[in-house]
């Protein structure tokens, strides 16, 4: 990896020599990266470069795919998350995830947001009400949906659904939020609302976002990692990486010569 060494203080997550295999196919080759607290880290690269795979190792979602093996280390603060005694449920509570396609559950707006807290044992109605309202407010959705909490979530627009999914993640009280191309199914206006939201959220959360859209990476992120064929080619402050890429491949990609 060719990049300047970043200062390691204020680090939220860290990977060391991370390798991921799907059966015989090696999807990630020795990826080491540091993710800073209360910053947005963007992962870019062409399709199949391993950026989504990397994202999914951060909350152990890769384990759902049969035949996946993972080597190397992933740390959340001081916790090595692939140790045997780590409780996956507790981990996913701390590291939430927003997917490419907004997928609201077939229930009301309220029930969608209350889903996580309920699963984690909160039964008290007034406590749930409070969490739902706060999560919707933090996801910039309270104004639009506060009066329609009982209507089915599937009737909302795509952009609203994606913000509802974010509210659902916030309701669990995560420290890190992973986003896998969260704007790829959204129209330009919804996308800009989502980007505003990401900028607000980083005050309280650490965000890692996979995106196809380089302008978006440049707009929303503080750090950017460029992946190619399962290797982390370059990782740097976003401004540095886009203005002054150290690696020829990075430059080729961001100037649109391939990908």
């Amino acid at each position: 990896m060719e990049s300047v060494t970043l200062t390691s203080d204020n680090m939220k997550m860290r990977t060391l020599g991370l390798e991921v295999f799907y059966q015989d196919f090696q999807a990630l080759h020795g990826v080491s990266m540091e993710i800073k607290a209360n910053h947005v880290t963007a992962l870019i690269g062409p399709s199949g470069c391993g950026k989504s795979t990397f994202l999914r190792t951060l909350n152990r979602l890769n384990e759902l795919i049969e035949g996946t093996t993972i080597q190397g280390q992933v740390y959340l603060d001081d916790l090595s998350i692939y140790e045997k005694e780590v409780d996956v449920v507790a981990l996913r509570k701390r590291v939430g995830m927003v997917f490419q396609k907004p997928s609201v559950f077939p229930m009301s707006v309220y029930e969608n947001v209350a889903y996580g807290p309920r699963i984690h044992g909160i039964k008290d109605k007034s406590k749930l009400d409070e969490i739902v309202e706060k999560s919707l407010r933090d996801a910039n959705l309270w104004e639009e949906m506060g009066s329609r909490l009982n209507s089915p979530a599937a009737r909302m627009s795509g952009g609203q659904q994606q913000r509802l999914v974010i509210a659902r993640v916030l309701a669990v009280g995560p420290e890190v939020i992973l986003m896998d191309e969260p704007a790829s199914a959204l129209d330009p206006i919804s996308t800009s609302k989502l980007e505003e939201l990401i900028a607000e959220l980083k005050k309280n959360y650490t965000i890692v976002i996979v995106t196809h859209n380089m302008q978006q990476a440049a707009r929303v992120s503080d750090y950017t990692g460029f992946f190619l064929n399962g290797h982390l080619i370059e990782f740097n402050r976003t401004k540095e990486l886009f203005v002054n890429p150290a690696n020829q491949k990075t430059e080729d990609y961001i100037t649109g010569r391939f990908g």
């Binding site: 979602l61 049969e66 997917f99 997928s103 077939p106 009737r155 993640v169």
Partner: protein, 281 residues
């Protein structure tokens, strides 16, 4: 130019043929139902519905057979639905895809679906009635019927569970839910319409069955109270009325009520389904 006309002509011809097949289906259905209504209607009265049969069904009503039908159908559903939905959940959510046991269960369900009902009846007679000593009873009949409808319920539930978007699972698990919480709270509610469809199909089969019921539940005209009592279902009653030449009119009356019962069940099921899906979507 020639080609275009030829293909256009065959297009018209085929459209007409498909249209005709549609009309045939509607006519056949309307014909049968209409015939049953016309022939059966004269036998129908409040007494026919509410009174117990007497003199082997020549007089009185068919109340005990209505009770027998509902009793037997409900009990067989109570047995088959938990097992069917349970195995569907196992096959789709827990079994490793392509595992030997999963394939065995699938194969068994498919084979069971193809076996004629009289074979189930014979098995139920030998196993439940004789070997287990349950006698001709609602319980023997329901157990036999449960085995018969199990493949339908398993299959339709499997398909409904499979049709639940994969994203639901990912999202739920990423929120820290366990596999069972995900199934119970998200997958099953979204699969519910499909599961109910399977149940409706099964009800139709249970209400319409005769051979297997005669062999396992008997054909007693008494009012069945406990599951250990023998019973005659409406379809069995219809069969006996017609077969033994007791009364064609009463056979049609019974047929009429069977059709009405099925329509009511379908209507109620659709109503619940709409309610459920309106709450979700």
């Amino acid at each position: 130019m020639q080609l275009v006309t030829a293909s256009k002509r065959s297009e018209i011809l085929l459209t007409a043929l498909f249209w005709l097949s549609g009309i045939v289906i509607v006519l056949v259905l309307a014909g049968i139902i209409g015939y049953v209504i016309i022939k059966g209607f004269s036998a129908i009265s409040l007494d026919f519905i509410l009174q117990a049969p007497s003199r082997a069904g020549r007089l009185g009503g068919i109340s005990t057979t209505i009770v027998g039908t509902v009793y037997l159908t409900v009990l067989s559903l109570l047995i088959a639905v938990p097992i069917g939905v349970g195995s569907a959940i196992y096959l789709e959510e827990y079994a490793l895809s392509g595992s030997k046991f999963a394939r065995l269960v699938n194969l068994t369900a498919e084979t069971l679906a193809g076996i004629p009902s009289i074979v189930f009846g014979l098995f139920g007679f030998v196993f439940f009635v004789i070997f287990l000593g349950l006698g001709w009873s609602i319980l023997s009949g329901s157990l036999t019927m449960a085995i018969m409808i199990l493949p339908t319920i398993t299959r339709t539930s499997q398909e409904a569970i499979l049709a639940a978007p994969h994203e639901y699972r990912e999202n739920s698990l990423a929120l820290g839910a366990s596999r069972w919480q995900t199934i119970y709270k998200v997958i099953l509610p979204s699969a519910l319409p499909g599961i109910v469809t399977g149940i409706i199909l099964s009800i139709g089969r249970a209400v319409g069955e005769t051979a297997a019921i005669i062999l396992t539940a008997g054909s007693s005209l008494g009012m069945p109270l406990s599951p250990a009592d023998p019973a005659r279902t409406m379809s069995v009653h219809l069969y006996i009325m017609a077969m033994e030449g007791i009364s064609t009119e009463r056979a049609f009356g019974t047929a009429f009520l069977i059709v009405v019962l099925i329509i009511i069940i379908n209507f109620l099921a659709n109503l619940t389904l709409n309610r459920l899906s309106r709450a979700m979507r």
